[in-house]
Amino acid sequence: MTIVDRSAPPVRTHKDNRKWVGKSIRRVEDPKFLRGGGGYIADLVTPDMLHVAVLRSPHAHARIAAIDTVAALSAPGVHAVITGARAAALCDPLPDFGPDPANHTWRCLAVDTVRYVGEGVAVVVADDRYLAEDAAALIEVEYEPLDPVVDPERALAEGAPLVHEPLGSNCAYDRTFDFGDVETDFAEADVVIRDRLRWHRSGGQPLETVGAIADFDHATGELTVHTNSLSFTSYLFMVAGTLKIPTNKLDIIPVPAGGSFGSKLFATKPSVIAGMCSREVGRPVVYLEDRVDNMSNCDHHGSDRVYEVELAMMRDGTMRSLKIDTIDDYGAYIQFGVGHHGNALAQVTGPYRIGSVRYRVRAVLTNKNQQGAYRGFGSEVNNWMLEQMVDKAARELGLDPVQVRRQNFVRTFPHFIPTGNVYDSGNYDAVLDQALKLSDYDRWRAEQRRLLEEEGRYIGIGLITAQERSVFSATEFWFWFDEPGAPVTSMPESVTLKVDATGGITATLYSCAFWGNSPETMVAQMVAEEFDVDPYSVSIVYRGSRDGLPATGPGGSRTTVMLAGAVEGATAKIKAKARQAAAHLLEIDPDDLEWVDGGYQVKGVPERRKSLGDIAIALHLFKHSFPEEIESGLEDSKVFDHPYTTMPSADRKDLGVFYPFMGHACHVPVIEVDIETGGVRFLSYAAVHDCGTLVNPRSLAGHIVGGTAQGIGTALYEEFAYDDDGQLQATSFLDYLIPSAMEVPELKIGHAETPSPYTPHGIKGGGEGGRMMAPAALNVAVNDALAPLGVRVTELPMTPDRLLTAIRNARESR
């Protein structure tokens, strides 16, 4: 029997007279970046450091018969050459949350078999990068090529070459979940809409690659690592364990990242390589990926899925049930398991009242770089899949695509979807209404008809309505297994607030530094809100992992909500102490005081007050004026744990609450397809998002536009294509096509604000929204444009070549 505890946290009331939360202030982080003083990882390199270059496999699949490093070792400026075999003696395997990790062991360098083009086989440590690369070119590796397996469906076939022999199969995971009564819902449905869909792999590709500077001190046994990867204090054991050093001898210090979009999440390999090399040579060592390193070997390619989907519908447009069967090509390793599908299950039914879901996932291993994280973490793919199905249903049933969506909207909250996750709040009609208006939808529908009839032009309107989950709980990584061996995961985030003797406030953050989001601005605005100070007066510092409080770091659009909770909690502690102190100074009962405009004052007697500065100086310098129990200083911390997550049921028919703060958006691109060239051009693009209470509307808008630009890349241009031999076809930005300013339209942006009942200020995360929506919207738009030709595109990216092929095939079949 399915038993779940769905107890929610208390419903909050949010104050509505906010001074700073909700204002589009200029970001507090920006001046240093504008002046070129960002302090990124490469900026920390000093002349005493040695540099690492990695020798990479040119083969997709081969045995390493021999490696000769003699010439490389005697090359100028070389301090060490470490092969995979030596690295395996120095380091344990890299952390792997996948099923059965012992049978697909992942190491920082390949030991006896290379499994994809770009996998590292040896590293050189030299005086500078030029010399390190010179020496790497002198390493002679004797390979015995093996047959590669590249296509995920062929990888499942009998007799396919095995990526990992010990696994005995290329299928790392295969499971089917039923949520609700799928069979009955399908039996009662009028029609079943079916399709096969293909989403090829792309990736975050920030302009800055991953890097690490490691300094191992043989005198103390301590390792200090600066890195632009996530430096979760909660997870530093991942690096420490691999390097076989005690966690209390490792300090990981966060450095601003020049973009991540997921791709610097848990990037442990660069830190391990730098740490291993530093320990070997006894000098500080820097390893900075170059672009080829990053494209071929970043461990962060995005989803790569084949879908067979069935959507059960009633003729009137009511959606009943979904059957999803997906094969996901994970590449050569599977570091995060199938967490990407857990993510999809957080919002698998979209904004619609769909009563049941069957979800089968097969995680397939092939000779490619492995999957990691890319903005959306797999739920953007689900959004795309579901919206293509809804769109197809509307076409097949002759229903209006707007109406069919609207009539299925969830309207009562909190709403539990069949998988067990909750949608905390929302107002999907309000978002849709605003989007229809902002996009000038009706006018474009008329224009679309006119331009086709009068000018033979193919215009498409791509309206989609989809979800934007936020604030993940890590259960999505382990509810796949019946024996998780862990209770519900708390995923904390911490903030320390210190009020100095003159009332100046410093906030300390403990997870990854800035990576293009704006944690400093968010925290400054929240502190300003709590203490009635100027946000630019708040000082923000970061702490390394060793003396840091528990912190999980960004990911799953969690940072702003979690930091808000931590700031709120630390503020409450500081204000409680300040109130006691003020009461003592004013010789009055603490309950007779109220916080007004930056200080405590006697209720109804505004002239009897103590500002935060008055209180702070007394607490710092004049402790003996206070009673015994009041200590000197005014500083406190809050470790804020995930506010709403529950255990999955033992039978896994209910996965519990794991992604509760549910945003929503409607995107409406209007495009024109040139049927002679296969090119797609934007005529208009409107996007309305609801991420709960806005903290800084301008920066959220920036994430919406930027995420949409990435979604445009995913939909039209970007692909890590591998040929039949497993050669990566995109190894520079000449082949991997990131949209430029000419490929991204100007967006009309709308915001709706439905506060979460469960978070501080009602904030929901919104960092991934643009990319959650744009691929789905553009596919719908292109199919809308090409519908008169009988073309339906089911594969992303919709390159000119793919579009022309689809148009030609449609013409030939007529």
Binding site: R27, V45, D134, G259, A701, G702, S740, A741, V744, E746
Partner: protein
């Protein structure tokens, strides 16, 4: 591989610089490592993304595919030369105001490219700015707020230049 070092002299942000460099040494490495000017960043290393953009004699170049020896005798301008002490350049002000940056990594290259665009056309339309900054990739912003920032910086610079001219007459 390695070669005899060459002596070069150049001007960087108005200051004379001389260095002995291998012929293969990249200009971006000279700027970042030898001169400590970390504002110029390395993005794709193939001359595609424009992250490493600096001005050579007023024209934008990709410093990641330019050898240091190719800058011999040239005037190089980098992001470090934009602000005058506490005063940000109008482009920096407008990028801040419009949130024309997120991670900040492409920003120095964007700013230098924008300097060149405004120098050549002091009154660019948003469409012209989009077309011209398409030389430089930004992975964060989607370019919308960058475009706004460049257009408004040009406006601000025209106003500044008008007031300067007015003061002189």
């Amino acid at each position: 591989m390695t070669g005899q070092k060459r002596h070069i002299t150049l001007t960087v942000n108005g200051r004379p610089v001389s260095a002995d460099v291998e012929p293969r040494r990249l200009l971006v490495d000279l700027l970042r490592e030898d001169l400590g000017l970390h504002g110029t960043h390395i993005g794709c290393e193939h001359g595609v993304c424009g992250t490493c953009t600096v001005l050579r004699d007023g024209a934008s170049i990709r410093s990641c595919i330019t050898f240091a020896v190719q800058a011999d005798g040239a005037e190089i301008s980098t992001v470090e030369g934009l602000a005058q002490g506490a005063t940000l350049h109008p482009l920096q002000e407008e990028f801040w105001e419009k949130q024309g940056l997120q991670c900040g990594y492409c920003t120095p290259g964007m700013l230098m490219r924008a300097c060149e665009i405004i120098e050549r056309n002091p009154d660019p339309t948003p469409e012209q700015v989009r077309e011209e900054i398409a030389s430089n990739l930004c992975r964060c912003t989607g370019y919308q707020f960058i475009t706004e920032a460049v257009v408004d910086a040009a406006k601000r610079m025209r106003a500044d230049s008008d007031s300067t001219t007015g003061a002189q007459t």
